[in-house]
């Protein structure tokens, strides 16, 4: 009995300092908190937090840029950890005034940025060791991905398609997270000459001549069958369609730039160059 109480105390003590009722705002912050093992301390999340799927059982305080101060306070948090773009400013000000510590985590989609984010979330949760371990693990994974990517001699071209609604192709251009992950996997972004996610013309798709088409996996009726994509008039003429090279990955895994990014880079690399590379 005594031993049981003692072990319970030991288990509970590290959690006390960093908050017992934690709200994480922002998909990547929630994902990091769960990866650090703090899932039991979370009492709510925002709409963008959807990984791991179990987290969706928690109350949803709304979209991270349109928070309701009273809604967040109603869950009685003793710690709020949020991505840097949480808002509106007035709601954030009120939350800060209400007493519970409000930690803003910096946003930077680079390997160093991911590590910094993990460290910041771990510090807020008072789990520095777990944070250091996870950050090191992710940095190793990213370094391995970069080394793999650097060793590629004949770079394959990848076209990221955000959506294919009504046959119109919304592609990921320069400076997007999609381009970031394609580079990290040793590929080359086939959609160039524009910034952000934009609709591109059919002819531009033919000129881009991608070797692989990358998409986000969606559940339910929103998803389009592979056959339909490869039968699209412009896409059908690309090398990717001829080889049936179509990869789908869960959105947060692919574009989230969080702890699972090395995993995403690895999967995309394997799809591009086969298992032989590593």
């Amino acid at each position: 009995m005594k031993a049981l109480t003692l072990s319970a105390l030991l288990l509970a003590s590290p959690a006390l300092a960093g908050g017992e009722r934690v709200i994480t705002l922002g998909g990547s912050v929630t994902e990091i908190a769960v990866a650090l093992g703090a899932q039991d301390r979370l009492v709510a999340r925002d709409t963008t937090s959807n990984f791991p799927p179990e987290i969706e059982a928690l109350p949803d305080v709304g979209y991270i840029r349109a928070l309701s101060a009273e809604g967040v306070l109603s869950l009685d948090p003793d710690l709020i950890v949020a991505e840097g773009d949480a808002g509106p400013q007035q709601a954030v000000d009120v939350l800060k005034a209400a007493g519970a510590p409000f930690v803003l985590v910096p946003e930077d989609p680079t390997p160093q940025g991911i590590a910094d984010k993990i460290t910041a979330v771990a510090a807020a949760l008072d789990m520095p060791e777990a944070g250091a371990a996870l950050a090191a693990q992710v940095q190793d994974g990213l370094a391995a991905a970069e080394a793999r990517a650097a060793a590629v001699t004949d770079r394959k071209r990848v076209l990221f398609i955000l959506s294919l609604q009504g046959g119109r192709i919304m592609a990921g251009g320069e400076g997007t997270e999609a381009e970031g992950i394609i580079r990290l996997a040793g590929g080359e972004n086939a959609a160039t000459g524009f910034q952000g996610y934009k609709q591109i013309a059919d002819e531009a798709v033919l000129t881009a001549a991608p070797d692989l088409i990358l998409m986000m996996a969606r559940e339910g009726d929103l998803s389009i069958a592979d056959a339909d994509i490869l039968a699209h008039p412009a896409l059908a003429e690309t090398p990717a369609a001829r080889n049936g090279a179509l990869v789908r990955m869960e959105g947060m895994l692919l574009l989230g730039f969080g702890p699972r990014t090395p995993e995403a880079a690895r999967a995309l690399y394997d799809a591009l160059y086969g298992q032989a590379g590593g």
């Binding site: 840029r65 349109a66 809604g71 109603s74 209400a98 007493g99 996610y197």
Partner: protein, 352 residues
């Protein structure tokens, strides 16, 4: 004036003073109800003890003084401003479809807000730090104001303002603003797209005392002084020439009504985003209830508009708690069917 009074129409209509009193009581009741409702579950009894200044912890104090009270005040102000602006515009244009949007406030403010959301990051750091979170409201207000002044100038020739020209020019300007907004939407990234979508659906979530302080000087004078235009608007219902023969300074009535709407509706849209339906429906409801006399409609619109928005905000805050719905969705979802029902129930046409 006699020809316009309800009694002359021979219709049984409630005493306007009694209607005003009932609206005031209803709005007060809604306000108290709204103050005692919220996701945090702080009920009326706790709040009563808070108002007497005892027995509330820090969290409850923040919820009362920094969340619910500013929201209530902002809801009353914005609702009143939109409804009174709608009544002024419908009176001025003698058109039941007129609302603040008709003088370019909606399109101009929308363009201003989208400009700020999409291109706000390009501002020099010093300026950005100075305006901070107020950039979007500021830009929305300036956009609405500039659009209105532009329309007013276009429609004014030789000291006379043509409301018909203003209406048509307003449509052209709206299309232009829509196209420019479209270009900016095309340039926007994902986060900005979500931001501007949410802006367009309106919200009172940005309520704070400084923001109320900034918009009150624009809204309150219009609410208080608008009844002075009532006689002029009543006369205008007969036509401009007739109104002039009755000794109404027609051009002055037009100028004050337009500038008043630009100030009140511009400020309302700036702080709360795009909240539709209040401006167009509230004056109609009041006309159906008590007749077309602007001397009663204008103060009643302020009460009913404020009450409606406070009620809608209460629903927006509680329906999906702990998250909240954009208030524009609530006003349209509830307002449109009720309005249709009233229209269908009435036999014959609209007595405008």
């Amino acid at each position: 004036m006699v020809a316009l009074s309800p009694v002359a129409h021979g219709l049984a209509r409630p005493d306007p003073r009694r209607v005003t009193l009932l609206l005031a009581l209803g709005t007060l009741l809604l306000a108290l109800l709204s103050l005692g409702t919220g996701a945090a579950g702080l009920g009326p009894t706790e709040l009563l003890s808070a108002l007497t200044g005892e027995g509330l912890d820090r969290r409850a104090q923040v919820i009362l003084w920094d969340i619910r009270l500013p929201r209530l005040a902002l809801g009353l102000m914005v609702g009143a401003a939109l409804a009174v602006s709608g009544a002024l515009m419908q009176g001025l244009f003698r058109n039941p479809l007129a609302d603040p949007g008709i003088v370019g406030v909606g399109a101009g403010a929308g363009l201003g807000a989208v400009l700020a959301i999409v291109l706000g990051g390009l501002l020099p750091a010093g300026v950005a730090a100075f305006v901070g979170a107020h950039l979007v409201p500021l830009a929305a207000f300036l956009g609405g104001w500039v659009a209105t002044l532009l329309l007013y100038r276009v429609a004014t020739r030789g000291g006379r303002t043509s409301v018909a020209t203003m209406l048509l020019a307003g449509i052209a300007l709206g299309a232009l603003a829509g196209a420019l907004t479209g270009i900016l939407v095309y340039l926007a990234d994902d986060r900005q797209l979500r931001d501007l979508t949410f802006w367009g659906m309106g919200s009172l979530a940005g309520a704070s005392w400084p923001r109320i302080g900034a918009s009150l000087p624009l809204i309150l004078p219009v609410l208080v002084l608008s009844p002075l235009l009532a006689r002029g608007l009543n006369a205008l219902a007969l036509g401009e020439a007739q109104a002039a023969h009755m000794g109404i300074a027609v051009e002055r009535v037009k100028r004050f009504a337009i500038l008043g709407v630009a100030a009140a509706a511009g400020a309302a849209v700036a702080v709360a985003g795009g909240i539709g339906f209040v401006g167009i429906v509230v004056p109609h409801l009041l006309r159906l209830l008590g007749g077309p006399d602007h001397r009663h409609i204008l103060p009643q619109a302020a009460l009913l508009g404020g009450g409606l928005l406070v009620g809608a905000d209460m629903i927006a805050r509680s329906l999906v708690a702990p998250a909240e719905l954009p208030i524009g969705i609530v006003t349209a979802c509830l307002g449109a069917p009720v309005f249709l029902w009233i229209l269908l129930r009435r036999k014959g046409g609209m007595g405008l």
